[in-house]
Chain length 546, copies 2
């Protein structure tokens, strides 16, 4: 039995485009002699469709696509994810299902049991869990077909769910497992997947065909990296990361012991870079935009953002704007100009002095004898945002936000100023990792000038300002932020790791009182297991560690 | 048996303040001779605590409060909501529980079965559902104790859940029902509650004591309106809306047939007004702010926002800024000044001309021969935002956003311009309802000048501009928006209601392509069953009706 994996980049709600891709892949799989072609979870509508699932019209369109797939299934079986309607009046109205279609009819519809409802996932918001299990008989084989999370509740002393679907399916002595997923990227997640799949293969003594999405949906990036694993828990083959692909596997090969276990970890920083490039590319492509604009400050964050955007969109399609002020250092301009020479991308230089001054003049009667301070710093940042948004509006650019995760965490940024932008490119990358990204981008040849990497970080909003005037050094800040944000440790637990009490409570307070700022910022491309945005939901008004 | 309801305004994560309120109420209930005093769902930590529940430290602090309550429970029973730890390693780690505490010990801990996971609710994100049911024996009575949603799965042909906890509890022949809730306000919700409670009382032939929160938690407003209902399904008494209160009820009275059924509907617009006032008051109070600022345009939205804020914070604490441009009408200033005389609140007048011009000059080399358009309109709106935020930063005001739901829906607003602000006061109120709010605010005497109410809505960003240049009249727009947003109808269903196809698809497209703007705006005080914000989760990048 030959099984083709179609690893595709879907577009949420774009039923025509998704069906085009699916039907092209069905034809190709037939040509390749596949018996079965497998697509991802909720492939017909894209993942996550979020509250579109609450519209009957949206569900009807999903089911229309299933009908069209049915009509193409002569001589091949198609496994494809789509919502299905719960016939029981009790419970939620939908299931998250895998349709098994062959020879013009729906052979079976298998529903998802375990509905991830944590981090970025909201599946119990929409779907009723499955409560009965059966294999699918096809081509003389018994197939244990499951949807994503259903194979994840094993190998854990504190499992998230009270049931394990494969424990039911194994009673029917299946020949193989097929799992259709929409498993988002984070820099550790392929390792997690391989580990869980190994647990499954070893426990059930079965091979598995694991199909993932590729492509970005706003903040969520799917890396693909679909694979086939043998009954012995060896990775037989891993498909490409970050691009569409189709491959075909013979069940017999997956049932034999092979020495091959070809998983190779490209390393965290390389993965992050590739993910961000895809994230930018799909954000623009799927919204129908081609060109980006950003403010280039001479600092490392905007430099790295520029390089990633240039790789994603083409260097000519990313316009940088240099906006010096009286507080800008000479090197902020010269370093930026050197960088622009290296990238070969267009730029403008617009001094903010006249605009900054007219605001100060007009506000002077109200400010009177109040000392210069954060207000005036924010005015500079907001003037820059007005300029960038004006160019963006006039020429149809999308403004890229250049904030990193460390500053987003502690609120070291100006709302409606440097926190503006349609997409936050490196908002899930801590400052200490941004440096590593810069080094990685320079690996072949120096693109980001060395001085941008080595100079002390500064917002340059007042004379001789340094980030360390307001914040602890990033080498101290980032591990504490990581413990709190990714690790979800409380203050006592973080202090127990060896950090000073005063510093810990100062940082945690900064994170919590700045929730209101993050609430109003752009979607953040998610590359870590816990990014700001839809996967981290915090009260704005509260009084906890704040 | 005498049962006291403590209807309190909690503060999320503020364990000391919450315990202070709870302990004061316990003492007062003892004085009043209560046998039992009942608090709301998750009262010890406030509702919704959101992802704070993922921090062990947060749970420990909840349980510390329970210990302190235990120590106060000599001579009285206390029913109070808090998370509890699931002892079973399988499933989520927490339950959403009602603690029944008396005479220094925990008599029982009853877990919630039905976990609302829709709209603003995310309970399955955190909690394991209960799967076994028992009544609590106390003072010679059997009490069917439940948490919020657990009494809501009845009287519905398409129930959301597959179980009904009271159907289990009734087997033990209880004497009464107690339900502890955190049931958010919307303008229809007290009617829904009474209806569902009547269904319960009639079906089980039992009285119920229903305890709700009062107070706002960022966008979610709890109206209180707790009540006691007889075994015959009559409202015995309804407590105050929008304020804290304690009342005491005798079980015997609730078991007798009374003619009283005292629920009175104050009407939608009056409810919305009271809810918004509380929403503003608590947003500021719980964040520790006293003063607000807003841009006063001469239009109805900012006028209504000013009146609500002045009622919430005190007229001296709301500063209005008039920011005329070359396109401002004379009446925009004169109407605003008349309004300010009526409210007696402070104001500044700052012309934006000089700032607008310097941006146009500096950008002129780039814009060249491009026609004036939306870009220039946005610059005006953003200049105003820079001014308002500068004053806000300098003097510690919170900027109030004045956008209404109609314009937020169709994206008729400038990101980082008039869409700025820490809190959206009327962002869940359609424009046609804003007019009604204005009339309501004028009911006693004219505060909002008649001309503000009757003049055609205009953004005044170009000569002789009217909202109807870009949008259908609000009387046409709002019902279509309502069908799509609150009604979740698809285009065919809306057209079937009698609206023109072209208009419907134009409006739905505007709603969907502007998701990116709403993503970056302030929390919106929620007064309808479907507000923008945490209760409506839409993809930004997608292609559906767009």
């Amino acid at each position: 039995m030959k099984i083709a994996i179609a690893q595709l980049n879907y577009h949420i709600g774009n039923f025509d485009a998704n069906f085009d891709k699916i039907s092209t892949s069905i034809l190709k799989a037939k040509e390749l002699g596949a018996d079965i072609v497998v697509f991802g979870e909720l492939a017909v509508c894209g993942y996550p469709p979020r509250d579109f699932l609450e519209f009957k019209d949206f569900i009807t369109r999903c089911i229309d696509v299933i009908e069209k797939i049915k009509a193409m299934s002569e001589g091949i079986a198609v496994v494809v994810g789509a919502p299905s309607i719960n016939p029981d009046p009790e419970g939620k109205d939908l299931f998250n299902s895998a349709y098994f279609i062959a020879d013009g009819r729906i052979i079976d519809v298998i529903h998802k049991t375990l509905l991830p409802t944590y981090d970025i996932f909201d599946e119990y918001r929409y779907f009723e869990p499955n409560r009965s299990w059966r294999t699918v008989n096809y081509g003389g084989k018994k197939i244990a077909l499951s949807v994503c999370e259903d194979i994840w509740n094993i190998g854990n002393e504190n499992p998230l769910y009270t049931t394990c679907p494969m424990d039911h399916l194994i009673m029917e002595n299946p020949d193989l497992m097929i799992n259709i997923s929409a498993s988002p990227f984070d820099y550790d997640h392929q390792k997690d997947r391989i580990e869980i799949l190994k647990e499954n293969c070893n426990r059930y003594n079965l091979p598995i065909v694991y199909v993932n999405h590729v492509g970005a949906q706003t903040e969520i990036i799917f890396d693909g990296s679909s694979f086939a694993m043998t009954s012995f828990g060896d990775v037989y083959d891993q498909m490409s990361s970050f691009k569409e692909e189709m491959k075909i596997y013979d069940l017999q090969d997956l049932q034999q012991k092979t020495a091959v276990d070809n998983f190779e970890d490209p390393g965290k920083i390389s993965l992050i870079k590739d993910a961000l490039v895809l994230g930018v590319k799909d954000y623009f492509g799927k919204l129908g935009f081609k060109k980006a604009i950003l403010g280039l400050s001479g600092g490392i964050d905007s430099a790295v953002t520029l390089c990633i955007a240039a790789e994603a969109l083409g260097k000519k399609n990313v316009t940088s704007v240099l906006m010096p002020s009286p507080y800008s250092s000479d090197h902020s301009i010269s370093d930026s100009e050197k960088l622009l020479q290296n990238t070969g991308s267009p730029s403008h230089k617009i001094s903010i002095n006249s605009m900054y001054e007219v605001f100060l003049n007009e506000l002077n009667p109200y400010f009177q004898d109040k000392a210069l301070g954060v207000t005036e710093e924010n005015i500079q940042a907001r003037v820059r945002s007005v300029i960038l948004m004006a160019l963006s509006n006039k020429f149809g650019y999308i403004l890229l936000n250049t904030s990193n995760k460390s500053e987003a965490a502690v609120g070291y940024g100006t709302l409606y100023g440097d926190m503006s932008g349609g997409l936050s490119v490196i908002g899930d990358v801590y400052k200490t990792e941004v440096f590593k990204l810069a080094r990685h981008l320079n690996a072949q040849s120096e693109i980001i000038p060395e001085n941008i990497i080595i100079k002390p970080p500064s917002a340059e909003l007042k004379p001789d300002q340094k980030d360390t005037d307001s914040l602890p050094p990033y080498e101290e800040l980032d591990p504490i932020l990581f413990s709190y944000i990714e690790g979800r440790l409380g203050p006592k637990e973080i202090i127990a790791l060896g950090y000073p009490e005063e510093l810990v409570s100062r940082i945690l307070k900064m994170v919590n009182i700045n929730e209101y700022k993050r609430h109003q910022t752009a979607p953040v491309l998610r590359v870590s297991p816990k990014a700001f945005g839809m996967g981290r939901r915090m009260p704005i008004v509260g009084k906890y560690l704040s």
